[in-house]
């Protein structure tokens, strides 16, 4: 049943269709799998942390000020993504779109800084093929960065659909799910920031 009739109008729009409920629950399960994925990558990173032979030490090349700005950009984008869902609940398409654009801009800022950081590191002699530490560094941050880029493309695609179809249980579900994804990336980044950059500065 694609759209069940007589639903409680107080139910959030994204939960009003059967398929919406299934998709949102399924997405939570998918996020569980993503946790397992990132956990494995973190484990790999910690195992290979001491493999710094033949390359610069992380504490020599990390620029903590840069990373703190990146962290703030992503944290704020998560907050604005939450605000866009708030506007969705109020059925205010315009406000929602504005917050989504702001979210995307913060995300783009984050990505820009991450790419410049990578270029800087490579310039300093810390590339993917330098040693095991840098291999796992790029694996971890790169997987996260790839997720962020895909998330941005996805949000743009969903915004396009909202523009065309307006708000309905289907588009609301997509907005909601993509914002869950965005929050998840923020959550992962907190661990990246702490265990890669902060510990890397001390270690």
């Amino acid at each position: 049943m694609a759209h069940s009739t007589n639903v409680d109008p107080n139910t959030p729009l994204e939960y009003q269709s059967e398929i919406g409920k299934l998709n949102i629950f399924g997405f939570w399960v998918f996020l569980g799998a993503e946790v397992a994925l990132f956990a494995t990558i973190f484990a790999t990173f910690f195992v290979l942390e001491s493999g710094t032979v033949g390359g610069p030490l992380p504490s020599e090349v990390f620029d903590l000020k840069n990373t703190i700005i990146m962290t703030l950009l992503l944290l704020i984008s998560s907050f604005t993504s939450g605000l866009s869902i708030n506007e969705l609940r109020r059925r205010n398409v315009k406000g929602m779109m504005v917050w989504l654009v702001i979210t995307l801009l913060f995300g783009a800022g984050f990505l820009y800084m991450e790419i410049t950081e990578f270029l800087h590191l490579i310039h300093e002699g810390a590339a993917m093929g330098t040693n095991a530490y840098w291999s796992s560094f790029y694996l971890l941050t790169g997987t996260h960065g790839l997720h962020v880029s895909l998330g941005m493309l996805w949000i743009i695609l969903v915004m396009f659909q909202v523009k065309r179809q307006g708000l309905n249980p289907d588009t609301a579900k997509k907005l909601f799910v993509s914002s869950l994804y965005w929050h998840f990336l923020d959550f992962v980044w907190i661990f990246v920031f702490t265990s890669v950059y902060l510990l890397g500065m001390v270690g």
């Binding site: 049943m1 694609a2 398929i19 409920k21 299934l22 998709n23 629950f25 399924g26 399960v29 998918f30 569980g32 799998a33 993503e34 397992a36 994925l37 494995t40 990558i41 484990a43 790999t44 195992v47 290979l48 001491s50 493999g51 710094t52 032979v53 033949g54 993917m128 093929g129 330098t130 040693n131 095991a132 530490y133 291999s135 796992s136 790029y138 694996l139 493309l153 996805w154 695609l157 969903v158 396009f160 659909q161 179809q165 289907d170 997509k174």
Partner: protein, 654 residues
């Protein structure tokens, strides 16, 4: 382009040339038949793009049987090579390739899809659902599995097979194996792994959210329970495989150093990560097998499953423990005594919940009115044979003793006793048991019993001697041995047994043909006087919407009690039909999985342009899906008239 093909097509081995020729003829044969009978459209509309869980299940099972054939031929070639000492039938390199593909195919492309196929056919019916939660995704799961399998299987005719064992340990698989073989392994598994992960998510959601009214968690049939637990293990274990394969792919293709010792990497990281996925994987294939046996034993002992709740508790316990035993695969790694002790104890702890299950089945059989159908014979044979596998597993689990058993034939015999007596017996049992549900007629019982005796006796003759071979020191994965080793007699016996298993398999295949021609067609949906909802459908092969009216569940063994109730009350009550909403077919998954195949192939041979084009195509498919999902998921309604037309012929007086 021509040079590329000429360099990689394998033409120097008579066995492989034979395979090449037979592949060409089979493909020509299939294409010609489809064209002659004008069946292309039927193939596309009724099967390839179908989102019907029953059809997807059948496709999984057909693929699994073909892979069982391929893996079985590998096994027979190995046995042929090992029958006599100093044999020159296969070269060492060829032997390496064969045991690698045998292991990989049997676990990932035979056992998994066979069980996923049975789950697909049965689970939605057992919980009274129309289909799985995400039918589109289900189709994508199947095709990405299938294209991953094709990519992997292509290796032996084009470019050379992987040759580092199914465990593919570093550094052998990196520095020790140039050529595309290992790339095939990494990418074939990666692509089919995506499909498995999606299936895991699909079944978690299906079972938790789509059960018929009244079916509480503790009223679910045991096979559904095992599927749920398995799906959870898949969700948490397969991402580990994804990462592990990616690490080695990067090492081989992009020059990273995850496993290079000299650049700070660690080869043991592969072993740990591989088994961190690999051990849960063992339970991913064995738990559904337990579920199948539970259903069959309860049905043919005519009793409710004994100790239902203890069974569920032990299932959950096993699923948890499965993630904390991985080091027992390499006690010889050089970890400390403390590390080995911890994993030794956790390994032995698994024997407790598994032992509970043995008593569950024995308790169900006790005082039951046992009917020895073929499915039941597989199930009853499973209990003692699997027990041998389990007990030898505990022997291997003792870290100190394991230094003696490590990588010799004792181990080989052990895991074949668990995987064949556990999983393969279950696949055959489930295949026979649910055959009428899939094809509308039973398999011939007499021929089935011949197959059973050939296969199960052959199995024991093949693998019991291998325990002894292990004790006399025969290492695993050697391609030959000398007459002075004294292993000849037992190896001859073992090969005879393997041949018996081959005969058993051929009889099963013949039985499919024989039963198709001659078996009596089932008139009702209840072929075995079953106890669970999949037997409650109006016709033998359920209509595409499964149930015209979703049944209401009042107890465990729901259908059994419904039948009791119906007997007492006389006539079944009249139900009013309502239009049923069904999902529509989807072609995108097939195209997208095809692109995965193309991209995977590009990466295997480092043809970057091909990989990049395929990747763009995959993103295109995803964007297309996102933009049009509201139309694709709209589906259609089956009208009341159509339901009546389908259902009425099956209405009989009670």
């Amino acid at each position: 382009m021509f040079d590329f093909i000429k360099d990689n097509l394998i033409l120097n081995d008579p066995l492989i040339i034979g395979a090449n020729i037979s592949i060409v003829f089979t493909v020509i044969g299939i294409v010609a038949t489809l064209t002659y009978f004008k069946k292309w459209k039927w193939l596309w509309n009724d099967w390839i793009t179908s989102v019907d869980h029953k059809k997807i299940g059948i496709m999984y099972i057909i693929a699994a049987l073909i892979m069982l054939f391929r893996g079985g031929v590998d096994a027979l070639l190995m046995r042929a090579q090992l029958t006599v000492p100093n044999n020159e039938f296969l070269s060492s390199q060829h032997y390496n390739e064969i045991f690698t593909t045998h292991g990989t195919i049997m676990i990932l492309f035979m056992a998994m899809p066979f069980l996923l196929g049975l789950m697909n056919v049965v689970v939605p019916l057992q919980i009274g659902a129309r289909d799985v939660a995400f039918p589109f995704l289900n189709n994508l799961s199947f095709w990405s599995f299938m294209f991953g399998a094709i990519l992997f299987n292509m290796s032996f005719v084009f470019g050379g097979s992987p040759d580092a064992g199914w465990t593919n340990y570093a550094p052998l698989a990196i520095e020790g194996s140039p050529g595309p073989g290992i790339n095939y392994y990494l990418l074939g598994l990666q692509i089919s792994g995506i499909g498995t992960l999606l299936t895991g998510i699909n079944f978690v959601v299906t079972i938790i959210k789509m059960r018929a009214p009244g079916m509480t968690l503790l009223r679910m049939p045991m096979f559904t329970w095992t599927t749920l637990i398995t799906a959870f293990i898949i969700v948490f274990a397969f991402p580990i495989l994804t990462v592990t394969l990616a690490l080695m792919t990067f090492d081989r293709l992009f020059g990273t150093h995850f496993f290079t010792l000299t650049a700070g990497g660690n080869p043991m990281l592969w072993s740990n990560l591989f088994w961190l996925w690999g051990h849960p994987e063992v339970y991913i294939v064995i738990l559904p097998a337990f579920g199948i046996f539970s259903e069959i034993i309860a049905t043919f002992a005519r009793k409710t499953l004994f100790g239902y709740k203890s069974m569920i508790i032990s299932l959950v316990a096993i699923s948890g423990l499965s993630f904390v035993v991985w080091v027992h695969h390499f006690f010889t790694m050089g970890g400390s005594a403390a590390v080995n002790s911890v994993f030794s104890i956790s390994t032995m702890a698994i024997a407790i919940p598994t032992g509970i299950k043995i008593f569950n089945w024995l308790g169900t059989l006790y005082k039951g009115r046992i009917e020895f159908t073929v499915a039941m014979m597989w199930s009853v044979a499973f209990i003692p044979t699997f027990l041998i596998g389990g007990v030898t597993g505990v022997m291997l689990g003792m870290a100190a003793a394991d230094f003696q058993y490590h990588n010799n034939y004792f181990l080989v015999a052990h895991f074949h006793y668990t995987l064949i007596a556990g999983v393969v017996f279950a696949c055959f049992a489930g295949f026979v048991y649910w055959y009428p549900k899939m094809f509308g007629h039973k398999m011939n019982e007499r021929i089935g019993k011949w197959a059973f005796w050939f296969f199960s006796i052959g199995f024991n003759v093949c693998f019991l001697p291998q325990f002894v071979l292990g004790f006399s020191g025969m290492p695993r994965r050697v391609y030959t041995y000398g007459p002075e080793d004294g292993w000849t007699a037992l190896n001859v016996i073992s090969s005879v047994g393997a041949f018996g298993m081959g005969v058993g398999f051929m009889i099963i295949v013949y039985n499919v043909y024989y039963s198709y021609r001659f078996a009596k067609r089932e008139l009702s949906g209840d072929a075995w006087d079953g106890r669970t909802l999949e037997w409650a459908t109006s016709s033998a092969i359920p209509p595409h919407y499964n149930f015209a009216h979703v049944p209401e569940v009042k107890s465990a063994d729901a259908f059994y009690y419904m039948k009791q109730e119906r007997k007492e009350s006389g006539k079944p009550e009249k139900v009013e039909y309502k239009p049923i909403h069904m999902p529509s077919n989807a072609g995108t998954p097939f195209i997208m999985s095809g692109l995965f195949f193309v991209g995977g192939f590009g990466l295997v041979f480092e043809l970057w342009w091909m990989a990049i084009l395929a990747l763009i195509g995959i993103f295109g498919c995803m964007a297309y899906r996102s933009l049009f999902s509201h139309k694709q998921d709209a589906g259609y309604y089956v009208s009341v008239e159509e339901i009546e037309k389908t259902e009425n012929p099956y209405k009989r007086e009670a």
